[in-house]
Protein backbone atom coordinates (compact mmCIF):
# COMPACT_ATOMS: atom_id res chain seq x y z
CA UNK A 1 0.00 0.00 0.00
CA UNK A 2 1.18 3.47 -0.80
CA UNK A 3 1.68 5.63 2.23
CA UNK A 4 1.50 9.37 1.79
CA UNK A 5 3.45 12.05 3.55
CA UNK A 6 1.21 14.86 4.78
CA UNK A 7 2.57 18.39 4.78
CA UNK A 8 1.45 21.03 7.25
CA UNK A 9 -0.43 22.78 4.44
CA UNK A 10 -4.01 21.58 4.40
CA UNK A 11 -4.79 18.91 1.83
CA UNK A 12 -1.26 18.97 0.40
CA UNK A 13 0.34 15.55 0.48
CA UNK A 14 3.27 13.81 -1.14
CA UNK A 15 2.65 10.41 -2.62
CA UNK A 16 4.89 7.73 -4.05
CA UNK A 17 4.31 8.18 -7.73
CA UNK A 18 6.17 8.37 -10.95
CA UNK A 19 9.13 10.66 -10.70
CA UNK A 20 10.45 13.11 -13.23
CA UNK A 21 13.82 12.90 -14.85
CA UNK A 22 16.01 14.85 -17.18
CA UNK A 23 15.01 14.54 -20.85
CA UNK A 24 18.58 14.43 -22.14
CA UNK A 25 19.70 11.77 -19.73
CA UNK A 26 16.63 9.74 -20.53
CA UNK A 27 17.27 10.05 -24.27
CA UNK A 28 20.85 8.96 -23.80
CA UNK A 29 19.96 5.94 -21.69
CA UNK A 30 17.16 4.99 -24.07
CA UNK A 31 19.62 5.03 -26.93
CA UNK A 32 22.11 2.93 -24.94
CA UNK A 33 19.66 0.24 -23.85
CA UNK A 34 18.48 -0.20 -27.42
CA UNK A 35 22.00 -1.00 -28.56
CA UNK A 36 22.75 -4.67 -27.87
CA UNK A 37 26.48 -3.95 -27.69
CA UNK A 38 26.17 -1.46 -24.84
CA UNK A 39 27.99 -2.41 -21.67
CA UNK A 40 26.44 -2.15 -18.23
CA UNK A 41 29.29 0.21 -17.33
CA UNK A 42 28.28 2.64 -20.06
CA UNK A 43 24.67 2.69 -18.92
CA UNK A 44 25.71 3.00 -15.29
CA UNK A 45 27.86 5.99 -16.13
CA UNK A 46 24.93 7.87 -17.62
CA UNK A 47 22.32 6.79 -15.07
CA UNK A 48 24.70 7.77 -12.25
CA UNK A 49 24.36 11.33 -13.40
CA UNK A 50 20.65 11.48 -12.87
CA UNK A 51 19.29 11.35 -9.34
CA UNK A 52 15.85 10.18 -10.39
CA UNK A 53 16.93 7.30 -12.63
CA UNK A 54 19.47 6.25 -10.00
CA UNK A 55 16.78 6.30 -7.34
CA UNK A 56 14.49 4.26 -9.57
CA UNK A 57 16.96 1.46 -10.24
CA UNK A 58 18.05 1.34 -6.60
CA UNK A 59 14.43 1.24 -5.50
CA UNK A 60 13.74 -1.64 -7.86
CA UNK A 61 16.76 -3.78 -7.04
CA UNK A 62 16.05 -3.39 -3.32
CA UNK A 63 12.43 -4.47 -3.66
CA UNK A 64 11.57 -7.82 -2.05
CA UNK A 65 10.90 -9.33 -5.50
CA UNK A 66 14.63 -9.72 -6.04
CA UNK A 67 15.14 -11.26 -2.63
CA UNK A 68 17.82 -9.02 -1.08
CA UNK A 69 16.11 -5.82 0.09
CA UNK A 70 18.32 -3.11 1.51
CA UNK A 71 21.60 -4.60 0.28
CA UNK A 72 22.43 -2.69 -2.88
CA UNK A 73 23.63 0.91 -2.81
CA UNK A 74 25.61 1.09 -6.05
CA UNK A 75 24.03 1.93 -9.40
CA UNK A 76 26.51 -0.31 -11.17
CA UNK A 77 25.62 -3.27 -8.95
CA UNK A 78 21.94 -2.51 -9.35
CA UNK A 79 22.27 -2.65 -13.13
CA UNK A 80 24.19 -5.93 -13.06
CA UNK A 81 21.51 -7.49 -10.87
CA UNK A 82 18.53 -6.06 -12.73
CA UNK A 83 19.80 -6.84 -16.23
CA UNK A 84 19.02 -5.26 -19.58
CA UNK A 85 15.38 -6.27 -19.83
CA UNK A 86 14.42 -4.76 -16.52
CA UNK A 87 16.47 -1.61 -17.09
CA UNK A 88 14.75 -1.22 -20.43
CA UNK A 89 11.40 -1.53 -18.69
CA UNK A 90 12.35 1.10 -16.15
CA UNK A 91 13.47 3.46 -18.89
CA UNK A 92 10.36 2.94 -21.02
CA UNK A 93 8.10 3.64 -18.08
CA UNK A 94 9.95 6.78 -17.04
CA UNK A 95 8.19 9.88 -18.18
CA UNK A 96 9.51 13.33 -18.55
CA UNK A 97 7.87 16.21 -16.81
CA UNK A 98 8.40 19.51 -18.53
CA UNK A 99 7.96 21.19 -15.20
CA UNK A 100 11.40 20.00 -14.21
CA UNK A 101 13.30 22.03 -16.69
CA UNK A 102 12.10 25.31 -15.27
CA UNK A 103 11.32 24.66 -11.62
CA UNK A 104 14.36 22.77 -10.54
CA UNK A 105 16.88 24.28 -12.84
CA UNK A 106 20.26 24.01 -11.25
CA UNK A 107 19.38 21.11 -8.99
CA UNK A 108 20.83 18.50 -11.34
CA UNK A 109 24.15 20.30 -11.46
CA UNK A 110 24.01 20.66 -7.71
CA UNK A 111 23.28 16.94 -7.25
CA UNK A 112 25.85 15.72 -9.76
CA UNK A 113 28.41 18.10 -8.28
CA UNK A 114 27.59 16.87 -4.79
CA UNK A 115 28.03 13.27 -5.97
CA UNK A 116 31.48 14.10 -7.27
CA UNK A 117 32.46 16.05 -4.14
CA UNK A 118 31.12 13.38 -1.77
CA UNK A 119 33.05 10.68 -3.60
CA UNK A 120 36.23 12.76 -3.34
CA UNK A 121 35.65 13.31 0.38
CA UNK A 122 35.25 9.56 0.88
CA UNK A 123 38.49 8.91 -1.02
CA UNK A 124 40.33 11.56 0.97
CA UNK A 125 39.07 9.99 4.20
CA UNK A 126 40.22 6.57 2.98
CA UNK A 127 36.72 5.08 3.17
CA UNK A 128 35.83 1.85 1.42
CA UNK A 129 33.52 1.90 -1.61
CA UNK A 130 33.70 5.62 -2.43
CA UNK A 131 31.21 4.97 -5.24
CA UNK A 132 28.54 4.27 -2.66
CA UNK A 133 29.24 7.67 -1.10
CA UNK A 134 28.82 9.28 -4.52
CA UNK A 135 25.35 7.76 -4.77
CA UNK A 136 24.54 9.25 -1.36
CA UNK A 137 25.61 12.66 -2.67
CA UNK A 138 23.64 12.22 -5.86
CA UNK A 139 20.42 11.47 -4.01
CA UNK A 140 20.80 13.90 -1.11
CA UNK A 141 18.25 16.38 -2.50
CA UNK A 142 15.83 13.90 -4.05
CA UNK A 143 13.16 15.12 -1.65
CA UNK A 144 13.32 18.55 -3.25
CA UNK A 145 12.64 17.05 -6.68
CA UNK A 146 9.69 15.07 -5.41
CA UNK A 147 8.21 18.10 -3.66
CA UNK A 148 8.74 20.29 -6.73
CA UNK A 149 6.94 17.88 -9.02
CA UNK A 150 4.12 16.80 -6.78
CA UNK A 151 3.40 20.05 -4.97
CA UNK A 152 4.36 22.78 -7.44
CA UNK A 153 2.43 25.49 -5.60
CA UNK A 154 4.07 24.78 -2.28
CA UNK A 155 7.36 24.52 -4.10
CA UNK A 156 6.84 28.02 -5.44
CA UNK A 157 5.90 29.20 -1.96
CA UNK A 158 9.18 27.78 -0.61
CA UNK A 159 11.06 29.66 -3.34
CA UNK A 160 9.28 32.88 -2.42
CA UNK A 161 10.05 32.42 1.24
CA UNK A 162 13.71 31.92 0.36
CA UNK A 163 13.81 35.19 -1.57
CA UNK A 164 11.56 37.37 0.60
CA UNK A 165 12.65 36.25 4.02
CA UNK A 166 16.25 35.47 3.13
CA UNK A 167 15.97 31.89 4.37
CA UNK A 168 17.89 28.82 3.37
CA UNK A 169 15.83 26.45 1.23
CA UNK A 170 15.85 23.94 4.03
CA UNK A 171 14.47 26.51 6.49
CA UNK A 172 11.85 27.73 4.04
CA UNK A 173 10.65 24.15 3.52
CA UNK A 174 10.05 23.83 7.23
CA UNK A 175 8.09 27.06 7.26
CA UNK A 176 5.92 26.07 4.30
CA UNK A 177 5.67 22.26 4.41
CA UNK A 178 6.23 21.68 8.09
CA UNK A 179 9.37 19.64 7.40
CA UNK A 180 12.45 19.71 5.23
CA UNK A 181 13.54 17.57 2.29
CA UNK A 182 15.56 15.52 4.76
CA UNK A 183 12.28 14.17 6.07
CA UNK A 184 11.03 13.52 2.53
CA UNK A 185 14.30 11.72 1.83
CA UNK A 186 13.87 9.48 4.86
CA UNK A 187 10.32 8.69 3.79
CA UNK A 188 11.38 7.84 0.22
CA UNK A 189 14.33 5.74 1.36
CA UNK A 190 12.17 3.85 3.83
CA UNK A 191 9.48 3.22 1.26
CA UNK A 192 11.92 2.09 -1.38
CA UNK A 193 13.97 -0.08 1.00
CA UNK A 194 17.19 1.65 0.09
CA UNK A 195 20.21 0.43 2.07
CA UNK A 196 20.49 1.96 5.56
CA UNK A 197 23.71 3.78 4.58
CA UNK A 198 21.91 5.65 1.81
CA UNK A 199 18.90 6.37 3.97
CA UNK A 200 20.96 7.90 6.72
CA UNK A 201 23.07 9.97 4.36
CA UNK A 202 19.94 11.29 2.65
CA UNK A 203 18.14 12.11 5.88
CA UNK A 204 21.00 13.40 8.02
CA UNK A 205 23.16 15.37 5.61
CA UNK A 206 22.14 18.68 7.18
CA UNK A 207 22.86 17.44 10.69
CA UNK A 208 25.55 14.77 10.40
CA UNK A 209 25.90 14.71 14.18
CA UNK A 210 22.39 13.24 14.36
CA UNK A 211 23.34 10.21 12.27
CA UNK A 212 23.01 7.17 14.48
CA UNK A 213 24.32 4.26 12.45
CA UNK A 214 26.38 5.62 9.58
CA UNK A 215 27.82 8.97 10.67
CA UNK A 216 30.51 8.74 8.00
CA UNK A 217 27.99 8.62 5.17
CA UNK A 218 26.04 11.58 6.52
CA UNK A 219 29.26 13.50 7.18
CA UNK A 220 30.66 12.85 3.69
CA UNK A 221 27.47 14.13 2.03
CA UNK A 222 27.42 17.12 4.37
CA UNK A 223 30.92 18.05 3.21
CA UNK A 224 30.06 17.29 -0.42
CA UNK A 225 27.07 19.63 -0.21
CA UNK A 226 29.28 22.29 1.38
CA UNK A 227 31.93 21.98 -1.34
CA UNK A 228 29.54 22.18 -4.27
CA UNK A 229 28.03 25.31 -2.73
CA UNK A 230 31.45 26.86 -2.25
CA UNK A 231 31.99 26.46 -5.99
CA UNK A 232 28.49 27.73 -6.70
CA UNK A 233 28.10 24.90 -9.15
CA UNK A 234 24.43 24.32 -9.82
CA UNK A 235 21.80 25.46 -7.43
CA UNK A 236 20.21 23.79 -4.43
CA UNK A 237 17.39 26.34 -4.36
CA UNK A 238 19.07 29.18 -2.47
CA UNK A 239 22.36 30.97 -2.85
CA UNK A 240 23.41 30.75 0.76
CA UNK A 241 26.52 28.97 1.86
CA UNK A 242 25.63 25.96 3.97
CA UNK A 243 27.14 26.05 7.46
CA UNK A 244 29.95 23.56 7.90
CA UNK A 245 29.36 21.22 10.82
CA UNK A 246 32.74 20.64 12.51
CA UNK A 247 31.53 17.20 13.58
CA UNK A 248 31.51 16.18 9.93
CA UNK A 249 35.28 16.63 9.66
CA UNK A 250 35.73 14.93 12.99
CA UNK A 251 33.63 11.92 12.01
CA UNK A 252 35.81 11.40 8.96
CA UNK A 253 39.06 12.25 10.77
CA UNK A 254 39.74 14.99 8.25
CA UNK A 255 41.55 18.27 8.80
CA UNK A 256 40.91 21.58 7.08
CA UNK A 257 44.01 20.88 5.00
CA UNK A 258 42.37 17.65 3.83
CA UNK A 259 39.32 19.67 2.88
CA UNK A 260 41.53 21.96 0.83
CA UNK A 261 42.87 18.95 -1.03
CA UNK A 262 39.31 17.84 -1.79
CA UNK A 263 38.42 21.33 -3.02
CA UNK A 264 41.39 21.20 -5.39
CA UNK A 265 40.37 17.76 -6.57
CA UNK A 266 36.85 18.98 -7.15
CA UNK A 267 38.05 21.92 -9.26
CA UNK A 268 40.11 19.53 -11.37
CA UNK A 269 37.29 17.04 -11.91
CA UNK A 270 34.46 19.47 -12.38
CA UNK A 271 34.89 19.66 -16.13
CA UNK A 272 34.26 15.91 -16.28
CA UNK A 273 30.76 16.16 -14.85
CA UNK A 274 29.91 19.54 -16.29
CA UNK A 275 30.54 18.04 -19.73
CA UNK A 276 27.14 16.43 -19.40
CA UNK A 277 24.72 18.92 -20.80
CA UNK A 278 22.11 19.68 -18.23
CA UNK A 279 20.69 22.70 -19.98
CA UNK A 280 16.90 22.78 -19.84
CA UNK A 281 15.06 21.61 -22.94
CA UNK A 282 12.67 24.51 -22.81
CA UNK A 283 14.07 28.04 -22.75
CA UNK A 284 13.55 29.60 -19.37
CA UNK A 285 10.53 31.84 -19.19
CA UNK A 286 11.46 35.46 -18.80
CA UNK A 287 10.67 36.72 -15.34
Amino acid sequence: MEEDLKTSAKGQILSIRDLPTLPKVLDEVTRLVQDPNTSIEAIAKVISRDQVLSAKVLKMVNSPVYGFPGRIGSVQHALVLLGFNVIRGVIISTSVFDIMSSTMEGLWEHSVGCALATGLVARQAGLKDPEEYSVCGLLHDLGKVVAAVQLPELHRAVGEAVRERDLRWFEAEKAVLGFGHDRINAWLAQHWRLPPTLKEAMSAHHFPERAQLYPQHAAAVHLGDFIVRVFEYGNGGDDQAAPLAPQALKALKLTLADLDAVLDGFAENLSEVSGVNFAPEVPEKST
Partner: protein, 316 residues
Protein backbone atom coordinates in the same frame (compact mmCIF):
# COMPACT_ATOMS: atom_id res chain seq x y z
CA UNK B 1 0.90 -28.31 -33.64
CA UNK B 2 4.46 -27.01 -33.73
CA UNK B 3 6.78 -29.96 -34.05
CA UNK B 4 8.86 -29.01 -31.02
CA UNK B 5 6.02 -28.48 -28.54
CA UNK B 6 6.83 -31.72 -26.75
CA UNK B 7 10.35 -33.04 -26.64
CA UNK B 8 9.06 -36.62 -26.43
CA UNK B 9 5.83 -38.58 -26.64
CA UNK B 10 3.40 -37.58 -23.89
CA UNK B 11 1.51 -40.22 -21.96
CA UNK B 12 -1.96 -39.04 -21.00
CA UNK B 13 -4.66 -40.82 -19.05
CA UNK B 14 -8.39 -40.24 -19.26
CA UNK B 15 -10.76 -41.50 -16.58
CA UNK B 16 -14.23 -41.44 -18.10
CA UNK B 17 -17.18 -43.71 -18.70
CA UNK B 18 -17.99 -41.69 -21.83
CA UNK B 19 -16.69 -43.42 -25.01
CA UNK B 20 -17.34 -40.30 -27.10
CA UNK B 21 -15.05 -38.27 -24.89
CA UNK B 22 -12.35 -40.92 -25.19
CA UNK B 23 -12.72 -40.95 -28.96
CA UNK B 24 -12.51 -37.17 -29.06
CA UNK B 25 -9.25 -36.96 -27.09
CA UNK B 26 -7.71 -39.81 -29.08
CA UNK B 27 -8.56 -38.06 -32.35
CA UNK B 28 -6.79 -34.85 -31.39
CA UNK B 29 -3.18 -36.03 -31.57
CA UNK B 30 -1.18 -38.53 -33.47
CA UNK B 31 -0.40 -41.41 -31.04
CA UNK B 32 3.32 -40.66 -31.47
CA UNK B 33 2.67 -37.26 -29.92
CA UNK B 34 0.16 -38.01 -27.20
CA UNK B 35 -0.72 -41.54 -26.29
CA UNK B 36 -3.99 -41.98 -24.38
CA UNK B 37 -4.86 -44.61 -21.82
CA UNK B 38 -8.57 -44.62 -21.05
CA UNK B 39 -10.15 -46.14 -17.98
CA UNK B 40 -13.86 -46.14 -17.32
CA UNK B 41 -13.58 -46.55 -13.56
CA UNK B 42 -11.88 -44.15 -11.22
CA UNK B 43 -10.95 -46.29 -8.25
CA UNK B 44 -9.29 -49.00 -10.29
CA UNK B 45 -7.18 -46.42 -12.05
CA UNK B 46 -5.47 -45.25 -8.88
CA UNK B 47 -2.96 -48.07 -8.74
CA UNK B 48 -1.98 -47.55 -12.38
CA UNK B 49 -1.53 -43.84 -11.75
CA UNK B 50 0.65 -44.45 -8.71
CA UNK B 51 2.74 -47.12 -10.40
CA UNK B 52 3.27 -45.32 -13.64
CA UNK B 53 2.23 -41.73 -13.36
CA UNK B 54 1.27 -40.31 -16.76
CA UNK B 55 2.26 -36.85 -17.98
CA UNK B 56 -1.35 -35.70 -17.78
CA UNK B 57 -4.51 -36.88 -16.11
CA UNK B 58 -7.99 -35.94 -17.36
CA UNK B 59 -10.80 -36.89 -14.97
CA UNK B 60 -14.45 -36.86 -16.03
CA UNK B 61 -16.85 -35.82 -13.32
CA UNK B 62 -19.30 -38.38 -14.78
CA UNK B 63 -17.30 -41.21 -13.18
CA UNK B 64 -19.79 -43.36 -11.31
CA UNK B 65 -17.52 -44.57 -8.54
CA UNK B 66 -15.69 -41.43 -7.40
CA UNK B 67 -16.01 -37.67 -7.81
CA UNK B 68 -13.38 -36.15 -10.06
CA UNK B 69 -12.32 -33.72 -7.33
CA UNK B 70 -11.51 -36.62 -5.06
CA UNK B 71 -9.25 -38.21 -7.68
CA UNK B 72 -7.44 -34.88 -7.97
CA UNK B 73 -7.16 -34.63 -4.18
CA UNK B 74 -5.68 -38.12 -3.86
CA UNK B 75 -3.10 -37.48 -6.55
CA UNK B 76 -2.17 -34.02 -5.34
CA UNK B 77 -1.85 -34.97 -1.69
CA UNK B 78 1.28 -37.01 -2.36
CA UNK B 79 4.40 -34.93 -2.88
CA UNK B 80 5.76 -37.27 -5.55
CA UNK B 81 2.63 -36.93 -7.69
CA UNK B 82 1.87 -33.28 -7.01
CA UNK B 83 3.44 -32.20 -10.28
CA UNK B 84 1.12 -34.41 -12.35
CA UNK B 85 -1.27 -31.99 -14.06
CA UNK B 86 -4.94 -32.82 -13.63
CA UNK B 87 -7.78 -31.49 -15.82
CA UNK B 88 -11.37 -32.03 -14.71
CA UNK B 89 -14.16 -32.56 -17.24
CA UNK B 90 -17.33 -30.99 -15.90
CA UNK B 91 -20.89 -30.62 -17.09
CA UNK B 92 -22.64 -27.29 -17.11
CA UNK B 93 -24.72 -28.45 -14.17
CA UNK B 94 -21.57 -29.10 -12.10
CA UNK B 95 -20.69 -25.44 -12.40
CA UNK B 96 -23.92 -24.36 -10.78
CA UNK B 97 -22.36 -25.08 -7.43
CA UNK B 98 -19.26 -23.43 -6.00
CA UNK B 99 -15.89 -25.11 -6.42
CA UNK B 100 -13.22 -24.45 -3.84
CA UNK B 101 -10.12 -24.52 -6.01
CA UNK B 102 -7.84 -23.92 -3.06
CA UNK B 103 -8.98 -27.34 -1.79
CA UNK B 104 -9.27 -29.23 -5.05
CA UNK B 105 -5.89 -28.39 -6.55
CA UNK B 106 -6.81 -29.28 -10.11
CA UNK B 107 -4.79 -27.54 -12.81
CA UNK B 108 -7.63 -26.71 -15.18
CA UNK B 109 -11.12 -27.81 -16.20
CA UNK B 110 -13.14 -28.26 -19.36
CA UNK B 111 -16.89 -27.63 -19.20
CA UNK B 112 -19.18 -29.46 -21.60
CA UNK B 113 -20.05 -28.66 -24.26
CA UNK B 114 -16.57 -27.81 -25.52
CA UNK B 115 -15.15 -27.86 -29.02
CA UNK B 116 -12.46 -30.29 -30.11
CA UNK B 117 -10.25 -27.29 -30.74
CA UNK B 118 -10.69 -26.00 -27.21
CA UNK B 119 -9.97 -29.39 -25.66
CA UNK B 120 -6.78 -29.69 -27.68
CA UNK B 121 -5.47 -26.23 -26.81
CA UNK B 122 -6.36 -26.60 -23.14
CA UNK B 123 -4.50 -29.89 -22.87
CA UNK B 124 -1.46 -28.53 -24.66
CA UNK B 125 -1.36 -25.42 -22.54
CA UNK B 126 -1.65 -27.52 -19.39
CA UNK B 127 1.19 -29.81 -20.49
CA UNK B 128 3.43 -26.89 -21.36
CA UNK B 129 2.64 -25.10 -18.14
CA UNK B 130 3.41 -28.25 -16.17
CA UNK B 131 6.77 -28.71 -17.86
CA UNK B 132 7.61 -25.06 -17.20
CA UNK B 133 6.82 -25.12 -13.53
CA UNK B 134 7.79 -28.68 -12.87
CA UNK B 135 11.25 -28.48 -11.47
CA UNK B 136 11.92 -24.77 -11.13
CA UNK B 137 13.97 -24.03 -8.05
CA UNK B 138 11.50 -22.75 -5.45
CA UNK B 139 13.83 -19.93 -4.41
CA UNK B 140 15.34 -18.60 -7.62
CA UNK B 141 12.67 -19.97 -10.01
CA UNK B 142 15.48 -21.07 -12.31
CA UNK B 143 15.08 -24.45 -14.08
CA UNK B 144 16.06 -27.33 -11.81
CA UNK B 145 17.73 -30.70 -12.27
CA UNK B 146 15.25 -32.35 -14.62
CA UNK B 147 15.42 -29.43 -17.04
CA UNK B 148 19.18 -29.17 -16.70
CA UNK B 149 19.77 -32.84 -17.43
CA UNK B 150 17.24 -32.73 -20.27
CA UNK B 151 18.95 -29.73 -21.82
CA UNK B 152 22.43 -31.22 -21.57
CA UNK B 153 21.41 -34.60 -22.94
CA UNK B 154 19.53 -32.90 -25.75
CA UNK B 155 22.61 -30.91 -26.77
CA UNK B 156 24.78 -34.03 -26.56
CA UNK B 157 22.33 -36.01 -28.69
CA UNK B 158 22.35 -33.29 -31.32
CA UNK B 159 26.17 -33.26 -31.17
CA UNK B 160 26.13 -29.49 -30.68
CA UNK B 161 29.29 -27.80 -29.52
CA UNK B 162 28.79 -26.15 -26.17
CA UNK B 163 30.46 -25.27 -22.89
CA UNK B 164 28.85 -26.42 -19.67
CA UNK B 165 29.82 -24.50 -16.54
CA UNK B 166 29.22 -25.75 -13.00
CA UNK B 167 29.32 -22.94 -10.42
CA UNK B 168 29.28 -23.17 -6.67
CA UNK B 169 30.03 -20.93 -3.73
CA UNK B 170 33.02 -21.38 -1.46
CA UNK B 171 32.41 -20.68 2.25
CA UNK B 172 28.66 -20.47 1.74
CA UNK B 173 28.14 -22.78 4.70
CA UNK B 174 30.10 -20.63 7.09
CA UNK B 175 28.11 -17.60 5.92
CA UNK B 176 24.85 -19.49 6.50
CA UNK B 177 26.01 -20.67 9.91
CA UNK B 178 26.78 -17.17 11.03
CA UNK B 179 23.99 -15.14 9.40
CA UNK B 180 21.18 -17.69 9.11
CA UNK B 181 19.53 -19.27 6.10
CA UNK B 182 17.44 -16.28 5.08
CA UNK B 183 20.59 -14.21 4.62
CA UNK B 184 22.01 -17.21 2.76
CA UNK B 185 19.00 -17.15 0.46
CA UNK B 186 19.71 -13.50 -0.29
CA UNK B 187 23.14 -14.50 -1.55
CA UNK B 188 21.71 -17.29 -3.69
CA UNK B 189 19.19 -14.87 -5.24
CA UNK B 190 22.00 -12.43 -5.95
CA UNK B 191 24.17 -15.17 -7.47
CA UNK B 192 21.30 -16.26 -9.71
CA UNK B 193 20.80 -12.70 -10.97
CA UNK B 194 24.50 -12.21 -11.59
CA UNK B 195 24.76 -15.40 -13.64
CA UNK B 196 21.51 -14.87 -15.56
CA UNK B 197 22.26 -11.27 -16.49
CA UNK B 198 25.88 -11.92 -17.37
CA UNK B 199 24.98 -14.82 -19.63
CA UNK B 200 22.11 -12.91 -21.22
CA UNK B 201 24.55 -10.09 -21.86
CA UNK B 202 26.01 -12.18 -24.68
CA UNK B 203 23.67 -11.15 -27.45
CA UNK B 204 22.45 -13.55 -30.07
CA UNK B 205 23.86 -16.73 -28.55
CA UNK B 206 21.99 -19.75 -27.28
CA UNK B 207 22.37 -20.06 -23.55
CA UNK B 208 20.83 -21.66 -20.52
CA UNK B 209 21.04 -21.10 -16.76
CA UNK B 210 19.85 -23.61 -14.19
CA UNK B 211 19.89 -24.01 -10.42
CA UNK B 212 20.88 -27.53 -9.38
CA UNK B 213 20.01 -26.74 -5.77
CA UNK B 214 21.63 -25.15 -2.74
CA UNK B 215 24.62 -23.13 -3.87
CA UNK B 216 25.11 -25.10 -7.12
CA UNK B 217 24.30 -23.45 -10.44
CA UNK B 218 25.00 -24.35 -14.06
CA UNK B 219 25.11 -22.36 -17.24
CA UNK B 220 25.52 -23.40 -20.85
CA UNK B 221 27.01 -21.11 -23.49
CA UNK B 222 28.76 -21.52 -26.83
CA UNK B 223 32.34 -22.69 -26.32
CA UNK B 224 33.89 -19.52 -27.71
CA UNK B 225 32.38 -17.22 -25.09
CA UNK B 226 32.79 -19.55 -22.10
CA UNK B 227 35.96 -18.05 -20.69
CA UNK B 228 34.72 -14.48 -21.04
CA UNK B 229 31.45 -15.51 -19.38
CA UNK B 230 33.35 -16.99 -16.42
CA UNK B 231 35.49 -13.90 -16.15
CA UNK B 232 32.47 -11.60 -16.08
CA UNK B 233 30.44 -13.72 -13.66
CA UNK B 234 33.35 -13.97 -11.22
CA UNK B 235 34.10 -10.23 -11.45
CA UNK B 236 30.49 -9.20 -10.82
CA UNK B 237 30.09 -11.68 -7.97
CA UNK B 238 33.30 -10.61 -6.23
CA UNK B 239 32.29 -6.99 -6.57
CA UNK B 240 28.85 -7.43 -5.05
CA UNK B 241 29.14 -10.20 -2.45
CA UNK B 242 30.91 -8.14 0.26
CA UNK B 243 27.74 -6.05 0.58
CA UNK B 244 25.88 -9.09 1.87
CA UNK B 245 28.08 -9.20 4.97
CA UNK B 246 27.69 -6.99 8.02
CA UNK B 247 30.01 -4.04 8.08
CA UNK B 248 32.49 -5.44 10.58
CA UNK B 249 32.99 -8.70 8.67
CA UNK B 250 33.26 -6.77 5.41
CA UNK B 251 35.97 -4.62 6.99
CA UNK B 252 37.85 -7.67 8.23
CA UNK B 253 37.33 -9.49 4.96
CA UNK B 254 36.44 -12.69 6.77
CA UNK B 255 34.17 -14.41 9.26
CA UNK B 256 35.66 -15.55 12.56
CA UNK B 257 33.75 -18.28 14.37
CA UNK B 258 34.28 -21.01 16.90
CA UNK B 259 33.70 -24.59 15.79
CA UNK B 260 32.27 -27.44 17.83
CA UNK B 261 35.72 -28.39 19.12
CA UNK B 262 36.01 -24.88 20.57
CA UNK B 263 38.62 -23.90 18.03
CA UNK B 264 38.54 -20.41 16.55
CA UNK B 265 38.38 -20.57 12.77
CA UNK B 266 38.58 -17.93 10.09
CA UNK B 267 36.58 -18.15 6.88
CA UNK B 268 37.26 -15.87 3.89
CA UNK B 269 34.46 -14.01 2.15
CA UNK B 270 32.43 -16.18 -0.22
CA UNK B 271 33.94 -16.87 -3.62
CA UNK B 272 32.64 -18.45 -6.81
CA UNK B 273 34.29 -21.58 -8.25
CA UNK B 274 33.46 -22.50 -11.82
CA UNK B 275 34.39 -25.67 -13.69
CA UNK B 276 33.78 -25.68 -17.45
CA UNK B 277 33.43 -28.79 -19.58
CA UNK B 278 33.49 -28.47 -23.36
CA UNK B 279 31.60 -30.69 -25.73
CA UNK B 280 33.38 -30.28 -29.02
CA UNK B 281 33.27 -32.73 -31.90
CA UNK B 282 30.67 -34.91 -30.22
CA UNK B 283 33.10 -35.89 -27.48
CA UNK B 284 30.48 -36.49 -24.81
CA UNK B 285 27.92 -39.27 -25.06
CA UNK B 286 26.04 -38.83 -21.82
CA UNK B 287 25.38 -35.97 -19.40
CA UNK B 288 26.87 -38.11 -16.63
CA UNK B 289 30.26 -37.81 -18.31
CA UNK B 290 29.97 -34.04 -18.30
CA UNK B 291 29.17 -33.85 -14.60
CA UNK B 292 31.89 -36.36 -13.71
CA UNK B 293 34.54 -34.32 -15.54
CA UNK B 294 33.20 -31.13 -13.99
CA UNK B 295 33.40 -32.52 -10.44
CA UNK B 296 37.08 -33.34 -10.99
CA UNK B 297 37.76 -29.83 -12.28
CA UNK B 298 35.88 -28.23 -9.46
CA UNK B 299 38.32 -29.68 -6.95
CA UNK B 300 41.00 -27.80 -8.80
CA UNK B 301 39.01 -24.57 -8.82
CA UNK B 302 38.35 -24.96 -5.11
CA UNK B 303 42.05 -25.12 -4.27
CA UNK B 304 42.00 -21.38 -4.78
CA UNK B 305 40.18 -19.64 -1.91
CA UNK B 306 39.43 -16.71 -4.22
CA UNK B 307 36.88 -16.87 -7.00
CA UNK B 308 38.29 -18.82 -9.91
CA UNK B 309 37.39 -20.88 -12.94
CA UNK B 310 38.97 -23.93 -14.50
CA UNK B 311 38.46 -24.82 -18.15
CA UNK B 312 38.68 -28.41 -19.32
CA UNK B 313 40.78 -28.11 -22.44
CA UNK B 314 41.46 -31.79 -22.95
CA UNK B 315 39.42 -32.05 -26.09
CA UNK B 316 41.14 -29.22 -27.84
Amino acid sequence: MPACLFSRQQRAMLLSPDPELAALFRSLWDPTEVEWTVMAEGRRAMEAIFNEPPDLLVVDNRLADIPSAEVAAIVKSENVYRQLPVILCLDAVDLERDWDWSEIEADDFLARPFSAREARERVQLTLCRASRGMDANPLTKLPGNTSIIGRIQDLIDRQDDFALAYCDLDYFKSFNDKYGFSRGDEVLMMTARVIVNTIRGFQGVKSFVGHVGGDDFVFIVPADVAEEACRRVVAAFDDIVPHFYDEDDREKGCIVSTDRQGEVRTFPLMALSIAVVFNTGGRLKHYGEASAIAMGLKKKAKENPKSSYVLDRRSE
